[in-house]
Structure formats: structure tokens, C-alpha cells
Subunit: 446 residues, 2 copies
């Protein structure tokens, strides 16, 4: 490497918050008033190509400044590194970050610090994919299986998946990949929509949006449940009547219940044939999910958006606790850890149906599912990516939904970059929206 090789020169961070609580978009049994937010970062380099790496953690408002501070704490691990070196092997950054013994104490591998690591790692992948001139899903799907295996940290998961098994899964996954790439580009990847069923919506709004979702080509919708059983019975009845027997209805309790409540409540809604019950209880409760799954079958059990790392996913699979594994692109340690989780799911034969929504989560996670389809699981059967319709307008490469499918991105990168004008407007508290909001409040108070 030449002494003048390009370096990463800066990690710029932004505390970006959208005032979503004012519309009850995103309301559920545990999150009555989220302000969808992102602790956002930009990796800058002195390379002649001028490319940047973008990444973020999604939060729902308060505490976003803590998440941004956690990203800043990682700056020293990234600034000064060779751009070529980290883009050739993003695993270097991932291993270095999760291996920092002092930072590890703040997790280990969970919560604020782990999500910050995921944001930085994802930004490196964004940069790597841009430099390669490929959308991330394609970079991953076309990568050498041995190189992919080296991207994974097998610590704490070898009792479920070892490097040889991972290599074998990836090699088998490559068979027929070209044909699937063509199919993906032509047809996209199936989506389901949560935008019909927020808890704060009226029955009238639910009816209208559910009918529209079916007309738009979605084959699955999702309703939030868990605040009041009578309401849930009524809303499930309304939704089933609107969509008919052939559209899947998933229900989502957002961790509202204890184990026994989850069982009772899910059984009380069984007559409406929910396809899955999502987050019936704490994401930490592996044995609890296993008990719930045994009790509520044939309703399937799904979780993952709040599962902290590969170690908990490993156990959910080992314990037979879930029917559906829901990865999140910005909760665990980035692409590297999600590769491990996708491989674990493939090993156990459990379909991956990602969590999305929030800020930019649809944009990111579509790449992981598309890689999974093209070069690992090889199928979209029983696989759907969550879709929520808001906040895409803030992204430079927003997701495109066509006939209930995510269209495969073709632009190089991880689709992570937000529009500069959105960053300027919604940075908290100094952006133009929040500054004006503060002025209004001061005016009212005066």
C-alpha cells in the first residue's frame, strides 16, 4: 500500500429527529408516541472518488443524543484507516470494534454501544459497495463464499454453526444464483405492510387502508395488538372481513405481555387466523418464546427486531422458540453480524422476514433479504420484508414498492444516505424545523 493511499478522514455524526408522534404513525402497545429518529454518521475520506459511507442507528426519540455520543466514541477506531483496506475487508473494522475490551464492558454486544458499532460497520459496507459500483445485496451475493465466512465472528455460536458449515451453506446457496438475480430484478422481493394497522388508527382508517393494501398487491398485512383485548378482537374481525381469507394477517404485541398473557391473548385472537404473533414478550426471553410457541400453534411465533445479537438468535433457534426470524439491519453489529444470523437461520431452516419501518430500515434491510434469496436460502417462499410507507422521502435512494414487492436497488451502496436538506431541517435541536418549533413554543409560553 502506498504511503499516499486514501484514508478515512472523519466520522461526522448527526442527531436527526422527525416529529412523528404528532400523527400517531408508529403507535403501538409499548410505544404510544414515538418520534422516529436516527443517530446518523458519515465517513469521509480523502480519496479522489469523493465517495462517503453513510450509516445510522434508528431510535424513537429521547436518548438519540446518547446513541450519537456512542458513535462518536468509536471515531478513534476508524479515522486514519486505509480506505482500500477496510473496503476490501469490512470485517477488520467489525472485529476491532467488538473486540475493544474497554468498550465491550458497556454491553457486551448489546444495547447502545452495540448499535453504534452496527451503524459504523454499516457505513463501511455502504462505502465498500459504492466503491465496488454495486448495490450491497449484489456485492454480497457475488462475493467469494470464503471471503464471506471471514466476515463473520463465530465466537459464541460454534455450538450451532461452525465456519465449515457456513462455507458449505454459502457454496450451496450460490447454485442457481444468476437465475435468481434475474428473477429478483424482474419481480422484486415480497413485502407486507404495517402501515394499515397502527394502534392509534380508527376502525374506519383501518378498513380503508387494509382494502387499499390488498388493491395495491400486498398479500400480508400486520395489526398492532396488546393494549386492550376487546379492541383487538374488534380490529382483527374488521381486518379479516376486509381482506378475506387468503391474505395473511400478522399481529404484533411489541413485547407487551408476560408469557401466560401472551398465550391467553393469542388464543383469544386465533379465530381470526393470525399468521404470526410478533414480539409476544421480552426479546430476551428465549424460554418464554419457546413456551408460547408450544401453546399457540398453529399461530406462528416471530421475533427479532429487538434481539440484541447473534447469541440470542442462536438460542431462539436451538430452543425451537420461533417460526419466523426477524432480522433488523440496525440493531445488531451491522452487516457482519447479520450474515451470521442469516446463516444460523439457513442452518435451522427458519425463514427470515425482516423488521423494517422506522427511519431508513426498509432501505437497509432489503439488501440483506435480497442477498439471502439470491445466494443463501434460494427462495422467497414464506419470506416477506416489512414495509411501512413513511419517511422514505428523506432518502436519496428510497425503496420502491411495486405490486406488493420491493424493487431491487440498482444504485451502488447500501441505500443509507439521507438527503442533505432533510439532515439540515431535522437535526435536533438546531435544525430549521426544531429551531422554529422551539420558537413557536416560546411564543405560546410568552
Amino acid at each position: 500500500m502506498s504511503p499516499t493511499a486514501a484514508r478515512i478522514t472523519a466520522v461526522d455524526t448527526f442527531d436527526i429527529r422527525f416529529p412523528t408522534s404528532r400523527e400517531l404513525d408508529g403507535s403501538d402497545a409499548m410505544n404510544p408516541d414515538p418520534d422516529y429518529s436516527a443517530a446518523y454518521l458519515v465517513l469521509r475520506t480523502d480519496a479522489a472518488d469523493g465517495l462517503e459511507g453513510h450509516g445510522f442507528t434508528f431510535t424513537i426519540g429521547r436518548g438519540n443524543e446518547v446513541q450519537a455520543a456512542a458513535i462518536e466514541a468509536l471515531r478513534g477506531h476508524v479515522v486514519g484507516r486505509s480506505v482500500e483496506e477496510v473496503c476490501d475487508d469490512p470485517g477488520l473494522v467489525f472485529h476491532d470494534l467488538i473486540g475493544d475490551s474497554q468498550l465491550r464492558w458497556l454491553g457486551p454486544e448489546k444495547g447502545v454501544m452495540h448499535m453504534a458499532i452496527g451503524a459504523v460497520v454499516n457505513a463501511v459496507w455502504d462505502l465498500a459497495a459504492k466503491r465496488a459500483g454495486k448495490p450491497l445485496w449484489r456485492l454480497l451475493a457475488e462475493a467469494d463464499p470464503e471471503w464471506l465466512v471471514r466476515q463473520i465472528d463465530f465466537r459464541y455460536i460454534t455450538d450451532a454453526l461452525n465456519p465449515d458449515e457456513a462455507l458449505d451453506l454459502l457454496r450451496r446457496g450460490r447454485e442457481g444464483a444468476e437465475e435468481r438475480t434475474s428473477r429478483l430484478l424482474a419481480q422484486g422481493f415480497p413485502a407486507y405492510t404495517t402501515s394499515v394497522g397502527w394502534l392509534g388508527y380508527s376502525d374506519e382508517k383501518l378498513t380503508r387502508l387494509a382494502a387499499q393494501a390488498v388493491a395495491d398487491g400486498f398479500r400480508q398485512i400486520k395489526l398492532k395488538v396488546g393494549a386492550d383485548l376487546d379492541d383487538d378482537v374488534r380490529r382483527c374481525r374488521v381486518a379479516r372481513a376486509v381482506v378475506g381469507p387468503d391474505i395473511r394477517i400478522a399481529i404484533d404485541a411489541n413485547q407487551r405481555w408476560n408469557v401466560d398473557e401472551a398465550i391467553t391473548w393469542t388464543k383469544a385472537l386465533a379465530e381470526f387466523e393470525p399468521y404470526w404473533i410478533e414480539e409476544p414478550t421480552s426479546p430476551d426471553d428465549i424460554l418464554g418464546h419457546a413456551a408460547i410457541r408450544r401453546a399457540v400453534a398453529p399461530v406462528k411465533v416471530a421475533t427479532g427486531e429487538h434481539v440484541q445479537n447473534r447469541i440470542v438468535f442462536k438460542q431462539l433457534l436451538q430452543a425451537g422458540a420461533i417460526d419466523i426470524l426477524q432480522i433488523d439491519a440496525a440493531r445488531v453489529g451491522g452487516v457482519n453480524e447479520n450474515l451470521a444470523i442469516l446463516l444460523l437461520a439457513a442452518k435451522y431452516g427458519v425463514p427470515v422476514c425482516p423488521h423494517a419501518g422506522g427511519v431508513g430500515l426498509c432501505e437497509l434491510v432489503q439488501h440483506l433479504s435480497m442477498f439471502d434469496f439470491v445466494a443463501l436460502s434460494g427462495t422467497t417462499d414464506d419470506r416477506v420484508i416489512e414495509y411501512v410507507h413513511h419517511l422514505h422521502e428523506h432518502f436519496l435512494e428510497p425503496v420502491a414498492i411495486r405490486e406488493g414487492h420491493y424493487t431491487a436497488p440498482t444504485a451502488p451502496g447500501f441505500s443509507a444516505a439521507m438527503r442533505p436538506e432533510s439532515i439540515a431541517r431535522y437535526t435536533f435541536p438546531g435544525g430549521t424545523f426544531w429551531a422554529a418549533d422551539l420558537d413557536r413554543k416560546k411564543g405560546k409560553a410568552a
Copy 2:
């Protein structure tokens, strides 16, 4: 409550770091160079008594500023509250903090944000005990069982412990409490020492310190293991030769191993009759600990210092994964969550042997074990509190060890308050020690 009732007026935070890495105190297989640190807070009030509440999270250096920022994010939940109200019922603050739906997204109930909640909650208990004129262990041991049950959040643990069972355990625990209080005040609570066996110490130093520990009255010592098996065999042999067959030797791998490595390595050390293997693998791996325990018996399996919350402890007990439960005073959501964990341990009949050391962890956790002895488990059989000899000089009420026992604190409060001169010296980076250190480094660089 009168309109002029005293209020909490401020939450002052401090990023305090001690340069322990320079002596290899605290070195182990995962933490080669910790700088023991505290994200520290002081609750101030406008009450005439002038009392303050102190609390902290222990970290090992980098990222302590993130932890301090997380404590600051909680300020709005505490400032302005009635001192009397929160001291009469610290559970109000605990429920409010873990129930903040936006902050919850950053865990939930794990990592940086949850530890920050624990620090604030512990500061409230410190203030409450000072106002009551009792050391915290005594306040808890003399509290009405029904009031104690109301301090607990049973969400996600009712499948293992419900409020009625908790009440029953606490009522039975009170039988004979007066006699045990007298015994505790006369004899103290058994300790074991880790100060002999840091990984960075030479065999000569290990030999000298282990002999001294036995002479000082300790009946258990602990060695760090997991970096190199040949070294571990040699060090265990040295230690066993020094202490003889009757002193317990615990070994501690600090999460270094995968499940299969943990089993192989522990069996390879079995000839030296280790009493327990501590943190053999990831603290998140409930099923892994269960597999290890089945394989390495009669060596006991211990973990807990990095266990994130009551939900993981619940499963460790449900799965029969541990012989020894190691609470930490500053990892989970403070006294309230530790009450739940102590009750779970009592329900399952598993002895609690706290993790301590670090900065101030001995000072805090002794109160929880003493409460457990006096008013819950009723015994010190097979119960020992970890003791590490460094950094106590920075506390106003440091622990006192006599003949291998913790002396029961008699001063009101939670023993959490650091000396003002230590705070002034070791606040990072502006305190006098760090400022001078920076000057030295600049001088060398010039």
C-alpha cells in the same frame, strides 16, 4: 404534601477514571488493560437536611463519557420530584425510568441505558437510606414485606415468580431476622478475594498473595484463567499447593470461551478441584451455560456480573444453567431489579455470591448480600462476596474486611459516596491527575 416540600434540584454527573491499567490490576483474559472508571452522579435537593444521593455505573475506561451522557438523559425524570415521595417509594422512579417508551428502544432493559437507570435508582436508594438514618441493608431488612414487593417490576418474570410467592418468601425470610442482624453485626459476611490472581501477575506474586490471603482469614480465592491453558494449569497447581486442600479456589474465564472450549478447558483444570468456573462463555448464552454445567460437574458454574437483567437471570435459573448466581450492584436497574433477582434465586434455591471489585462495587453490593442473609435466604452457607482490595480509599465509607469477612456498614446510606478530592483529581479529562498526565505526554511529544 405541602407546596414547599423539598424537591430534587439537580443531577450532577462526573466522568471519573483511575489509571489502573498501568499496574495490571484487574487484568484478565478479556480485559488486558482496564482503566477502572465510574460514570458518577449526585442527586441534590433543596431539603434542609442537606443530604445527597450518590450513585454510579462502573466501566473500565473508554466509553465512560457515553455512560455519563446516558445518566444525563435521565435528568428530566428526576429533577423537580418530591424528595419525600421518591424516598418513601424509590420504585416510582424505577418504574418511570424503565417505562419511558422512547428510552426503552435503546435497550430494552440492557446495556448503557439500563446501567444508567441503575445508577440513578441506586442514588435514590442512597438518599432514602440516609434520610431513614440506616445503612441500606438494614432499611431493606426492616422494611415491610408488602412494601418490598411493590418495589419490584414483575413484568416478564411471572412465569417463574409472582407477587404472592415473593411476599411469601419475604415473610418467611423475616423469621429470626433479629438474631441474624446481631450475628451479622458481630461476625460480618464471608468474603473471598480475587486480588491474588490477576492474569498479569507472576507466579511469585501469586504465591505470596495467596499465602497472605489464607493468613488473612479468607476461605476462598479466585484465579483468572482462559488466556493460555498451560499457564492456567501451572497457576492452578501453584495456587493449590500454597493454599492446601481446604481453601476453595474459584476460576474465572471472563467469557473467553465458546461452549465446547469451556468444557474442555474446565475439565483440564478439574484435577486442581476448582470450586466454580465463572463466566465460562457469553453472559447471554443461557443454553450454553446449561450445556457447560451438565458437562463439568462437580465443578460449579457461576455467572452474573454481565447478565443484563432479571429476565436473563430468570432463564438461567429455569434452565438449571448455574449453581451460583452472581449479582452486580451496578449492572442491572439498581436495587429494585436486584430485589427481583435475589427473590428469584431464593425461589430456585441457588446461592447468591455477588460480583464486586471495580470502582465501589464492593461498597454497594455488600448491602444486598447482607439484606439477603438477614431477611431472605437466612444463611451465609456457600455465600461469599467477592473482594478486591483496590480503590476503596476513594470512598467516604470504604468497606472494612476483618478475618475474611465484610464488616456490616453502620453509617446511613448505600456507601456510594466518593471523596470530593478523588472526584476532583480523577475526573476525566479535566481533573488534576489527567490534566497533569496530558501535560507530561505533551512534554514528551515536544
